[in-house]
């Protein structure tokens, strides 16, 4: 009976100072908003590191175009999945949405690298250091991930880690897509290593810091 009274008092307390709230954006709209901002940020970052002529000359119809298509597809799918999963009544299987484009993207480079390995032998295992690849993905991906996590901050009380992981994947994928416009993907092994490293770090940092980033506004209330 005393416990029941507790709940009654809690309900009275919660409803006493109730304020109207603005509903969150529909996940599709939120994802579109983030993608538009993300594309603008990536375009700005690309423009600052390359001349327009360099962009067209570096960009080829083969590997880079497939990389651009699949990385963008993974980013878009992961962003939509993150915003869907941030809501309580959405199916957890939304988390699988980016799986197909992500697997196709990894397969593109893994397949190319396997061919390279068969053709070149151990030469395919030699990786040039390409810190600028990982640096670009980190520099562009992390702010975009923070933006996504802030837009989906209501997930903090529900599925913070899953949403943060998807947010990190979405941001890093868009950054990787942008990078392929200015940075020739010389070999699949190098792409797998340095893009993979950059994307992995963005996802790990997002998962690690995501719940704190999401609750930042709650802490300032």
């Amino acid at each position: 009976m005393t416990d029941r009274m507790d709940t009654e008092r809690l309900i009275a307390g919660l409803s006493r100072n109730l304020r109207p709230v603005r509903r969150v954006l529909h996940p599709l709209l939120a994802a579109m908003l983030w993608i538009v901002i993300g594309a603008a940020v990536v375009a700005f970052a690309v423009a600052t590191i390359a001349e327009a002529t360099a962009i067209t000359s570096e960009f080829r119809a083969g590997l880079e175009s497939w990389h651009l298509l699949l990385a963008s597809g993974t980013g878009v799918a992961a962003a939509l999945a993150a915003f869907e999963l941030a809501l309580p009544d959405r199916d957890q299987r939304w988390a699988l949405l980016p799986l197909v484009p992500a697997m196709a993207w990894v397969s593109l480079h893994a397949g190319g690298w396997a061919k390279h390995l068969a053709y070149d032998g151990l030469g395919a295992l030699r990786l040039d250091v390409s810190l600028e690849c990982a640096g670009f993905i980190l520099g562009v991906g992390l702010p975009l991930s923070v933006l996504l996590l802030r837009l989906a901050r209501h997930a903090a009380l529900l599925r913070p880690r899953a949403v943060a992981a998807l947010g990190g994947l979405a941001a890093a994928s868009l950054a990787s897509a942008g990078l392929s416009c200015v940075h020739r993907l010389y070999s699949e092994g190098m792409v797998l290593a340095w893009h993979g490293l950059g994307i992995g770090v963005v996802i790990l940092l997002s998962v690690w810091l995501g719940p704190r980033i999401m609750t930042l506004r709650l802490l300032t209330h």
Partner: protein, 174 residues
């Protein structure tokens, strides 16, 4: 819920009261013991309050509510598991010396426990929640803040006020 999102306090209170039996059923399926179930129910109500803006009136309410209740019940279950892992096994009661049979001491202890219980009941819901999360469950402030929906600052103030109020009520000097 739509009316509650627009700020209708009466509709909100009615809704929360109507949610309690359903939430209790969900929590009871995952937790043992009435106090733990009650804690999870109250935690669920706090979460509903914090994220009431995520409800979409075009969609059914029950799945929205059920997910929140299940998450809070799971959290409480996990916390119980962690606590259990930290607790040392009990010594067989038969090996212990018999407790003091002194009825006066027993009565004094009981009276003090009753006084403490009443003092805790007299706290405001926010102070009780803060005391429970920050002191009894000993959660880190950020986690307690996340669960209660209060800011870290508000949580510290509520905890401090709760302790001061308890001391005042129990006749101890702060």
């Amino acid at each position: 819920m739509t009316a509650a999102q627009d700020g209708d306090t009466e509709a909100y209170a009615t809704l929360l009261r109507e949610c309690v039996p359903f939430v209790t059923t969900v929590c009871r399926a995952r937790l043992r013991g009435q106090p733990e179930v009650e804690d999870a129910v109250q935690d669920t109500l706090l979460t509903i309050h914090r994220i009431r803006h995520t409800y979409d009136p075009a969609r059914p309410f029950t799945p929205w509510l059920a997910t929140i209740a299940e998450r809070r019940a799971l959290d409480h279950g996990r916390r119980r598991g962690r606590r259990a892992a930290r607790v040392a096994p009990l010594v067989d009661a038969r090996d212990l010396p018999s407790p003091s049979p002194d009825p006066e001491t027993h009565l004094a202890v009981q009276q003090r426990a009753n006084a403490l219980r009443e003092a805790v009941q007299a706290l405001s819901p926010a102070q009780r929640t803060a005391l429970d999360l920050a002191k009894l469950q000993d959660l880190p402030l950020t986690e307690a803040s996340r669960r209660s929906g209060m800011s870290v600052g508000a949580l510290k103030v509520a905890t401090h006020r709760a302790v001061m109020a308890l001391r005042r009520r129990l006749g101890e000097q702060p």
